[in-house]
């Protein structure tokens, strides 16, 4: 796996090269979200306009560029992607190129959008995945993090998707002690089955101690970093930056987690950004190192409806 060590001011920095652009992400709704979750790693909210929407035309230009780079899958995040008025059209366009995954809070979905996406999904040979963020198995555990009433609204959104024939991947950020995973997941499964989702897919994410999460819990200490020694014998494909890039309205960044970091902007287009190595000097890089695959669709927890 490619990695090298850069020396800056006498300090050796662990650096990751992109091996292949497997995942192309889009910050499609910028930092705008209808919710203000208190663990959000980029502090998205109804008033955060630091990053703007991506237009269908802009996404399409990147999709076309991605063909020559051999991209394997496309991911759409925000903010809340479905605040972008072109989101449905963007997903429909993407399914002509490859598999698409959209990360949503499922609280703003409209039935005609879902109907259009069902039709597009059926017409495409590629999978359309919905990842729905819910951070507790009931209102008492979810709403303090995501906002009053959000559990009921997200539950209704999941029901809409399931009724339409999708198997949404419920994504929960671990805001409980890790030792409680099995109990929490069992409760998630029970709740989802009661809501009519009889074979729930659930993905657990570690909390990223950046953005709003710094206030909710704490930030990374200076010592919480990946060192060059830690990469000896390590499978670097566990790092998102080894196989992914993200397009925002500012350019192309190293990964979906670090877009607010000035050094994350690697270029103005994909070609440029795929050639740049990246020094993994941030605290969040340690979480990526520890847990791996945190941005992919694969689960890190108990799933399949069994507890």
């Amino acid at each position: 796996m490619p990695h090298s060590n850069n020396s800056v001011m006498g300090t050796t920095l662990p650096t990751i090269s992109l091996s292949h652009l497997d995942e192309l992400w889009f910050q499609v709704s910028g930092t705008l979200c209808n919710l203000t979750c208190n663990h959000c790693f980029i502090s998205c909210s109804p008033t955060n306009n630091n990053f703007g929407f991506l237009s269908l035309a802009a996404v399409h230009a990147s999709l076309q560029q991605s063909v020559t780079l051999g991209v394997k899958g496309y991911y759409f995040t925000g903010g809340e992607p479905f605040l972008n008025p072109e989101m449905t059209a963007i997903l429909i366009a993407t399914l002509k190129y490859g598999p698409a995954t959209v990360l949503t809070n499922a609280t703003v979905l409209k039935q005609d959008w879902i109907d259009a996406l069902v039709a597009a999904s059926r017409a495409s040979r590629y999978s359309l995945e919905f990842r729905v963020s819910i951070d507790g198995f009931d209102a008492a555990t979810n709403d303090p993090i995501r906002g009053a009433g959000t559990f009921a609204r997200a539950r209704a959104g999941v029901q809409q998707l399931v009724k339409a024939g999708f198997l949404p991947i419920i994504t929960a950020t671990r805001t409980w002690p890790q030792g409680n995973d099995r109990t929490v997941l069992a409760n998630f499964i029970k709740t989802l089955k009661e809501a009519g989702y009889d074979r729930p897919r659930i993905k657990l994410l570690p909390a990223l101690q950046i953005g709003a999460e710094i206030q909710r819990s704490r930030g990374y200490t200076d010592a919480q970093r990946v060192t060059s020694e830690m990469l000896d014998g390590f499978d670097n494909s566990q790092f998102v930056c080894e196989h992914a890039r993200i397009v925002t309205d500012r350019g192309v960044h190293v990964c979906p987690i670090l877009i607010e970091e000035p050094d994350s902007l690697l270029g103005t287009d994909l070609q440029q950004a795929t050639q740049a190595d990246y020094a993994i000097t941030h605290g969040a890089c340690l979480t990526c190192y520890q847990y791996g695959a945190i941005c992919s669709n694969s689960s890190l927890g108990l799933t399949s409806g069994d507890s």
Partner: protein, 260 residues
């Protein structure tokens, strides 16, 4: 001139399906048989597949399971990430590790990771997961054309054959023919008990694909698995044709067509 070859995907210790597939291929007059790796896993009595493969001169390449068993690694390298999937994968792995002889482990160790064969005018790359990675899942619904295309020129081949996912598919691309040959080890998550192998037919510079359903004595296999105290979830899959474990790697399209 027309030539056929038979390609077997993961055997997963299903010695009964392996014998049935070989019998079927021989009955069609096919002499060249290949296996794309993962000889053990999931099923009972892993040592039983080796004499069958050797007796019929089935040319094998190495799968992730073969690398792990052959080299006594800690896990099967199947590529699962969910705890439940890994729980069952580990049961299967420990059983297979304990019941594979030292000689057969040595056989697994020396298998090539990939192989290019020429049949008629056609160059065919055989690999387990993908041309670039031993345990990469190449599902039909998550493998874009432009992702697959470069592999043909990189390896200078006309056909690429893989397995690993457990579900067969094929796609004709401008640069060549891509085939996932399916597996012999367990049914295809479609509610039927048969398994599948693949015949490639080369005629001049043209290649065609036939996916062949293989009926075998699945009840005997289920009984063997029960006698070996393998998980009831595995036996359910053999008896029903629906996958019960290792589900979380399935993309939406492949998952929705199953039962669990």
């Amino acid at each position: 001139m027309t030539t056929q070859i038979a390609l077997f995907g993961g055997v997963y210790s299903n010695y009964l399906a392996l014998e049935a597939a070989i019998t079927d291929a021989r009955a069609r007059g096919i002499s060249d048989l290949y296996c794309l790796g993962d000889l053990g896993a999931f099923g009972p009595f892993p040592d039983r597949v080796f004499p069958i493969l050797q007796r019929h001169n089935v040319q094998c390449i190495q799968g992730n399971y073969d690398d792990s068993i052959g080299n006594d690694l800690d896990n099967c390298q199947c590529g699962y990430t969910a705890e439940r999937d890994n729980y069952y994968a580990n049961i299967s792995y420990l059983y297979t590790q304990q019941h594979t002889s030292a000689d057969n482990k040595a056989f697994l160790r020396q298998l090539p990771r990939t192989r290019i064969i020429q049949v008629e005018q056609t160059q065919i790359l055989l690999c387990h997961g993908s041309p670039r990675k031993l345990n990469e899942f190449l599902w039909e619904s998550t493998s874009p054309d432009h992702f697959l295309e470069p592999f043909f020129s990189q390896h200078a081949v006309d056909v690429i054959a893989v397995t690993h996912t457990g579900i067969k598919w094929q796609r004709q691309l401008p640069s060549g023919l891509f085939v996932n040959v399916g597996v012999l080890g367990r049914p295809e998550n479609d509610g039927t008990t048969n398994v599948w192998y693949t015949i490639l037919e080369m005629s001049g510079s043209k290649t065609s694909v036939e996916f062949v359903p293989v009926e075998y004595d699945y009840q005997q296999l289920a009984q063997d698995m029960q006698n070996e105290q393998l998980p009831s979830e595995f036996i359910d899959t053999i008896n029903t044709g629906w996958w019960t474990t290792c589900l979380e790697v399935l993309p939406q399209k492949e998952r929705i067509s199953g039962k669990h």
